[in-house]
């Protein structure tokens, strides 16, 4: 692995960590809005007012003593996901895909007893997965069933779509596919595959894993070219509407395509990562700067989506 010259990176318009923090996150993101995105429960409630659908909320565990009631309340549930409301980077999310007697089946296929889930809930409440270790609540959501067209590209986990939204304009997107290396999670730094998406039509561009270009999924063996995301325009509009919902100028919107309910919002991220640039093979800076240079910004989400499709379609 070699080194790249900073001048070359500059020419490619690559946004880097320090610049993202100083010039975009701290300039365009109001701190007061952070709790809105750092808490998945609050995110769900606020975006619903803006017609952005999310997975169905099954229960909320707020107190330690409520854990004992989890068993009875989870009785009728087969597939669900337990998440810390303030978790970050997919930490502390446990996905249960079915039952086997008294045991629950994790996404990896491992059977775990109820006590495992109870301990997990108690860890979440104590703040183990939350930023700064502050006390947290656990949310139990309906498990997303990915549409088969996309699910076949992903090892176990649900493939999700990350769209970076700058001042309400969806500027760049990628599809994240779980792998065995990422333990079924769609986090790029854990080894998930990122597939860059053409912002105009949702067609796949190129793919990276561990920051290196790949052509095939290492576990499923499928070629990663020619991936097309359905309902692309609807997803762009959903992402654009999140700006109105939260007021965050620079954020990452994570969406999934559910087999039954269509595109759903999973979570918002006020500090979206930089790997999306590698998946797209181009830097964010030119797009961000062209939006900053707009003399008359577009007011409605649909206008912004239209502008983006014209301006940044590859």
């Amino acid at each position: 692995m070699g080194w790249i010259s900073p001048f070359k990176l500059n020419r490619l318009g690559m946004l880097n960590m320090n610049r993202r923090n100083v010039d975009y996150i701290s300039r365009y993101n109001n701190r007061a809005s952070y709790p809105l995105v750092d808490n998945k429960l609050r995110t769900k409630l606020v975006v619903e007012e803006y017609d952005v659908p999310t997975p169905k909320l099954l229960q909320v565990v707020r107190q330690q003593h409520e854990i004992s009631r989890f068993k009875t309340r989870a009785d009728g549930l087969n597939c669900f996901a337990v998440k810390p409301a303030k978790g970050s980077g997919g930490k502390g999310i446990t996905v249960i895909t079915g039952r086997e007697g008294d045991h629950f089946l994790k996404a990896s296929g491992a059977a775990v007893p109820l006590s495992y889930l109870e301990r997990h809930l108690s860890n979440i409440l104590a703040g183990l997965y939350s930023l700064g270790g502050s006390p947290d609540v656990a949310i139990v959501e309906d498990l997303v069933e990915s549409i088969p067209g996309l699910a076949r590209y992903s090892f176990q986990g649900v493939p999700d779509i990350r769209i970076v939204v700058f001042q309400g304009y969806p500027v760049m997107a990628m599809l994240r596919l779980a792998t065995k290396a990422s333990d079924g999670k769609a986090n790029l730094h854990q080894g998930a595959i990122g597939v860059g998406l053409n912002i105009a039509n949702g067609h796949g561009l190129n793919a990276v894993q561990f920051n290196r270009p790949v052509t095939h999924h290492p576990d499923m063996g499928l070629a990663l070219e020619n991936i097309v995301i359905e309902d692309w325009d609807k997803m762009l509009a959903m992402a654009a509407r999140c700006y109105e919902a939260t007021g965050l100028g620079y954020m990452g919107v994570d969406l999934v395509v559910d087999a039954k309910h269509g595109p759903l919002l999973l979570e918002l991220n006020a500090r979206p990562g930089l790997a999306i640039q590698m998946a797209n093979g181009c830097g964010l800076l030119p797009r961000l700067q062209s939006i900053e240079a707009l003399r008359r910004p577009h007011f409605t989400p649909d206008e912004r989506v239209k502008f983006v499709k014209d301006a940044f379609g590859a």
Binding site: M1, G2, W3, I4, S5, P6, K8, L9, R11, L12, M14, N16, M17, N18, R19, V22, D23, R27, Y28, Q64, K91, S115, E118, R119, S122, N123, A126, G127, L128, G133, Q190, V208, N211, R212, P213, G249, Q277, M278, G281, C282, G283
Partner: protein, 506 residues
């Protein structure tokens, strides 16, 4: 949202940094605080010893003492004389140490010690009153001889200085001197004659007594020097060689005073001097003088020693913060916990590096093993951390005792590590292990240790602790640099590696 102009920010940073540097430079010049530690400054300790024989009467001994001899500064004064009342009185430029006692019998010894430091700044001194030449009356045949010699000297000279030089030459026995000179000069009155002749010639002149500073000399006497007034200041001449100026190793003990020693109520008095060359750290010198200076309020020397020790440590922390900021912002090293490396580095300062590293790594690894068991107990987070803190204390105690019995005193140093921080480190590492795998644990652990070692090396450098403690204003510079780094939007070193695959798109 329009981006705010950054010019005021950069101006503020510039002011901050230049204020820090100029304040430090100013204090360096004013107080003489050295830039590097261990710089030694010579100090002359001169002891005047007065011996006399008491006669049973009340005694008043009065010794002329120097105030600011040319080329030297008085650092400290001290009198040692059991049973005597002592005070320093000053009368019209004549500064005298006075001892007094009601009834004195037998041989007596009084001591007066002065510490001198060489200082070029006090070389030229002006007198408060313009001295006038004293009128001198000569009797024949001396009057004629004096006139003749002065005439001779005057023809060969143009200024008071040159006249003085010529006169001294004419009065030397080895010069083929005329009869006139032989008539005037005898060994005992030479200095008196010289000053009287100069005064007669209209040049204010006087004798001063100087002391040759040589290390570890005892029973030295003062040597006479000739001083003339040129209208601005007193110039010193060697009365034998006519050499102008004072040698570096001569301190003028008596200048303006009429007498060196006056004793009332004692016989057989004499003064002798002994001296010693001491070297004290320049820093100590600066500290000793700081209390007399207007800038001293900026220094920490006034604090009690215990607080000074605490500040010595505290003032090192900004340096560690600077290192951490640099490593994370510019280099891009991942650490476990933002400032955990500083706290570890502070512990390393107490334990020294290698024992500290061994102790830290062993405590954390044993802790990780125990945490594995705690993890299976299904505990609440707070009680798990609390249990971990107690376990960490057990581990450190165990290591200390084991180390002690095996003969390593270094085992004891584990106690310097902050227990709570270690417990949290273990907890975080353990979670990291479960979630991201052992690779990430090693990356972050090694990153933290690397940054901690860098911070330790910076903080333990003698220059660092010297500068941070003696020039606290230099922290403005550190602050400025940290603020500047807060605005660094360039690529991190690690990103040049991370984004390397982008080469193909260029």
């Amino acid at each position: 949202m329009t981006p705010r102009s950054r010019i005021p920010f950069y101006v503020a940073i510039f002011l901050l940094i230049s204020a820090g540097i100029s304040l430090a430079t100013w204090r360096h010049i004013q107080l003489g605080i050295p830039w590097i530690s261990g710089q030694q400054e010579p100090v002359w300790m001169v002891e005047a010893r007065i011996d006399f024989e008491g006669t049973g009467d009340p005694v008043m001994a009065s010794l002329n003492v120097p105030e600011s001899p040319p080329g030297f500064r008085v650092l400290s004064e001290q009198a040692a004389s059991p049973g005597y009342g002592f005070s320093i009185v000053e009368d019209n430029g004549d500064r005298r140490a006075e001892w007094s006692k009601r009834e004195v019998n037998g041989p007596q010894t009084l001591y007066f010690k002065v510490q001198f430091v060489a200082d070029e700044a006090v070389l030229r001194q002006t007198s408060r009153r313009k001295p006038k030449p004293e009128p001198i009356f000569w009797e024949e045949p001396e009057a004629t001889a004096v006139e003749e010699i002065l005439e001779q000297a005057r023809t060969r000279s143009s200024t008071p200085e040159s006249l003085t030089r010529e006169l001294i030459k004419l009065l030397q026995p080895d010069s083929n001197r005329a009869q006139n000179t032989t008539l005037l000069v005898s060994e005992t009155n030479y200095m008196g004659l010289l000053t009287r002749m100069l005064n007669h010639a209209g040049i204010p002149a006087r004798t001063a007594d100087g002391l040759y500073l040589e290390d570890a000399r005892r029973r030295q006497n003062l040597r006479p020097f000739l001083q003339i007034y040129d209208g601005e200041s007193w110039l010193t001449f060697n009365p034998r060689t006519a050499e102008q100026g004072l040698p570096d190793n001569v301190v003028l003990w008596r200048q303006a005073a009429v007498s060196l020693l006056d004793i009332v109520g004692g016989d057989d008095s004499e003064v002798s001097f002994s001296m010693l060359r001491q070297t004290i750290p320049a820093l100590q010198l600066a500290q000793a003088e700081s209390s007399q200076n207007g800038l001293s309020f900026l220094s920490l020397y006034q604090l009690p020693i215990e607080e000074q020790g605490m500040f010595r440590m505290l003032l090192l922390l900004p340096l560690g913060a600077l290192i951490v900021a640099f490593m994370r912002i510019v280099v891009g090293i991942r650490t476990s916990g933002t400032f955990m490396p500083i706290l570890i580095a502070v512990a390393f300062v107490q334990t020294t590096l290698v024992p500290g590293l061994i102790a830290f790594v062993s405590v954390v690894s044993i802790g990780l093993l125990m945490r594995g068991y705690l993890s299976s107990l299904n505990l609440l987070l707070v009680s798990r951390i609390s249990a971990l803190i107690i376990l960490v204390i057990f581990i450190t105690a165990g290591l200390s005792i084991a180390g002690y019995h095996m003969g390593f005193n270094t085992g004891m140093t584990v106690t310097f590590f902050p227990m709570v921080i270690i417990a949290w480190t273990i907890e975080r590492m353990s979670i990291l292990w479960e979630e991201e795998g052992v690779h990430e644990v090693f990356v972050q652990g090694a990153g933290s240790l690397f940054v901690a070692v860098c911070a330790f090396l910076a903080m333990s450098a003698p220059v660092a602790s010297h500068l941070t403690f003696n020039f606290p204003e230099l922290h403005l510079v550190v602050l400025g640099l940290i603020l500047l780094m807060g605005q660094y939007t360039g690529y991190k070193l690690s990103e040049l590696r991370r984004f390397n695959p982008m080469k193909v798109y260029d």
